[in-house]
Subunit: 487 residues, 2 copies
């Protein structure tokens, strides 16, 4: 409470309320990805923090900068084991790159500066600061100076030379791009490398942030299922890793390995995710005497406006056909989302955000935070229904803050991905209970009612034409709206 | 997936889908409190478990029996650090009394039997079993025999004699009742003790489950704020603890102690929460030669049906005036809830459940689980709006399972308790940001729309007469409904 009250005593801090902590942490992730500086979450003891863990898990995988401030019991009250007491450090450790528990009000200012610096350690991490209430209400004595965050590790010239060697050998080479390699500067360097060497550009399956569309190099995206990923990688002799770890299977399946790189293949690490990946790519471009710049003259090419039945193909085409330049697409559309990615390859330049940690319920919050970071860009939350239900409270924050978010809600009344995984596990005919646990029908969710209940205007569409019309209406209207697609 | 598919191969397991893990764990808590045997939650890796932690925190404080089964990556896949990998044990430890990570399919059956026994260790605890996917799809070889859970600790005769001595001394004695002391058998024994000795009966502030109404002894409830609690306890020389820990303040405040028992007061432990508390109370009744039974001849006495303006008083009176015998009242009405407790003291016999761990978002899920456990009783979820937003997905499960839950939603468009705590922290005039962070207005939540969107019929009421009418309509109608009270 002293901390909440104190927010009004300083300028430059914007206070945004989420009605569930998972909304706050997911929004901080979206903000961090777009603003490239940390948002601060303010959470209440262990259980309040716990509600934010799933989206902090995603943020950790995205390497987003976030500062969590967790209000805790007074230092002298913790031992009393009052109802809200719990082991906050044990809860925080799995998702935090940095944790500190303040014990005196006089160390709070310095610890906060350290937390902000830790969150900003390139490319970003989750920093968690536990602040007992007496450290809030006692005097802090003094302010602390800001601390510069650690810069990314330098480019290693031996790694650059080694990668250049692989390329020069004339082998079949893939450049596997992840993390900050997928932002504009890294991609421009990657395009130069590809222009000189014809090495193949592949991006990781779930990029935290990918700049794409007309003018950006075309990337192949590593497929989700291991058999497809292995097939794609089979065609190379060398994979150069730039900002990505060696790819592994999302889940372990019987008779498939964890590691997706075939055994014959040589993996060369150009840059770790915490390195200055763009600089390493630029160094590699110079090392192989790549052209100074590559102009992609193809220009904008959108798909035709789709007509007829709504499905994953027509929905993806409708978004790609209508989305404004500079859009930010948060893709948590799960099984429905894939065709959009292909359809939008030459759409106007846009940013693509994905579910990095597999913890569903990220899309609506992350879109919310991205819209806070970029108030003059349109955010499109392309969203599966099952995942949306996890953190639907985000819609209220979008309404309160008048954020420019268009939620495109895929209502297929099922956890379709679980039905796919059931089939992969050899269950051809699931029984009554298994069907019931993967179905969102009976009763069906009425997303227009849910959105309206939280102050977000909503429309329900059943054809591709209706979707296109509602998308254009939403893109032209300031503030949030939700379009419920009946699939 | 193998586990989900296997549910259809056995009878006697009911599969209930929650659309957010906090719904599942809160429902398991409500089920455990009412059925006095564990429900099983099925959760997905660390992030899925994390979404359930807040309500498991409440369940831990309630000492509810619960078995969590967490599906994890295959044992050979954990090391690959795939996106969903995290330190599940670190997340689970703060809320689990028992944890085990299975490493072989052949030990799964035995470990499951142990988990069920651990959950049932009197009076109950949270047992967490982590099951890698290969331990699900590999052969289990054999079934395991059920294991009898540990019984509560025996009555300690020295503790009984010591408590009897305190009572006989003629001091001002309070019997502080918690945990299983508040179920029918313990309360009957407490009433006998009070009849013989005129010692005062006090119940803990947030009982997991309290049997009350006509025929049950009248208890004073220890107040929430420390100054009021200390004032109540000041009047006694001795407090006999039966199933309750020494009371401590919910939060630490400047100039108030953590411990609420005044220093002059002697605390005698009759029975710890894990003891057989009812047996200890019965032994004490015998020791002091209390009457064999006490008849409470006062009978049912309900308040008048309130008229006029809706507020905490009239709402509490309306529920007490109309609720059916055998109702289960889950009280997460926060600042609005208190008057109901006094109004219903001689209402028809009913069960009262409260928020044990302070982690808000318990009410709707816990009511859901209680209704599963007791299909022939009406469950009343008396619910604050801010808390309800945490786990509103529970309404969908109530609709799907046609559960007899009446949600009475207190829409005061604020986190009123935070506004109270701000005032207690000395913030007389909160600034713009602090007001914004404690307000649920702008936009207001439309709870009838939210309920309808999840398949639950809903009505909005603005007077006490309307509330009474809608309560009676709901109590007479099978299945769930929601009544939104505009306060």
């Amino acid at each position: 409470m002293p901390l909440v009250a104190a927010l009004d005593s300083v300028d430059g801090l914007r206070a945004i309320l989420g009605l569930f902590e998972g909304v706050c942490t997911g929004a901080a992730d979206g903000y961090g990805r777009m603003a490239e500086k940390p948002a601060l979450t303010l959470l209440h003891l262990g259980p309040g923090f716990a509600n934010g863990i799933a989206n902090l898990h995603n943020a950790r995988r995205a390497r987003s900068p976030i500062v969590n401030v967790i209000g805790d019991h007074a230092t002298w009250h913790v031992g009393a084991d009052a109802p809200l007491t719990s082991d906050i450090v044990s809860l925080a450790r799995p998702v935090s790159g940095w944790i500190r528990s303040v014990q005196k009000s006089t160390s709070l200012a310095g610890a906060t500066a350290e937390a902000i610096a830790a969150a900003g350690r390139a490319p970003g991490q989750v920093a968690t600061l536990i602040v007992p209430s007496d450290c809030q209400w006692d005097s802090a004595e003094r302010y602390a100076e800001p601390i510069a965050p650690a810069r990314p590790s330098m480019v290693r010239s031996d790694a650059v030379k080694h990668a250049a060697e692989s390329i020069r050998k004339g082998n079949r080479v893939a450049l596997f791009l992840g993390g900050t390699a997928l932002r504009a500067r890294g991609l421009k360097a990657a395009a130069r490398i590809a222009a000189k060497s014809e090495c193949h550009l592949i991006c990781e399956t779930f990029p935290a942030r990918l700049e794409r569309g007309a003018g950006m190099p075309a990337l192949d995206r590593l497929p989700y299922f291991p058999e497809q990923a292995i097939e794609m990688l089979q065609g190379f002799d060398t994979v150069i890793l730039a900002g990505a770890k060696k790819p592994v299977a999302f889940f372990g399946y019987p008779n498939f390995p964890s590691e997706l790189l075939p055994k014959h293949l040589e993996a060369a690490i150009l840059a770790e995710p915490t390195d200055d990946v763009a600089a390493a790519l630029e160094a590699l471009a110079i090392e192989i005497a790549a052209p100074v710049s590559v102009s992609n003259s193809a220009g904008i090419s959108r798909p035709e406006r789709p007509i007829g039945k709504l499905n994953a193909m027509t929905a993806g085409a409708a978004i790609a056909a209508t989305m404004p330049e500079g859009a930010i697409v948060m893709d948590e559309a799960a099984t429905t989302g894939l065709p959009f990615f292909a359809a939008s390859i030459a759409a106007p330049p846009h940013t693509y955000l994905s579910l990095t940690g597999g913890a569903i319920g990220q899309g609506l919050p992350c879109a919310t935070g991205a819209a806070v970071a970029c108030p003059y860009r349109r955010v499109i939350a392309y969203q599966a229904d099952g995942s949306a239900m996890y953190t639907l409270q985000a819609l209220w924050t979008q309404a309160r803050e008048s954020l420019n978010v268009t939620t495109v809600l895929c209502n297929n009344r099922s956890y379709r991905i679980l039905q796919v995984e059931l089939a992969r596990a050899g269950v051809a005919e699931p029984g009554r209970k298994a069907r019931s646990l993967t179905s969102l029908a009976n009763p069906g969710l009425e997303w227009t009612a849910l959105a309206n209940g939280m102050g977000v205007p909503a429309a329900r569409v059943e054809t591709a034409e209706e979707l296109t019309r509602e998308l254009e209406r939403s893109f032209a209207t300031p503030g949030p709206s939700l379009i419920e697609m009946i699939l």
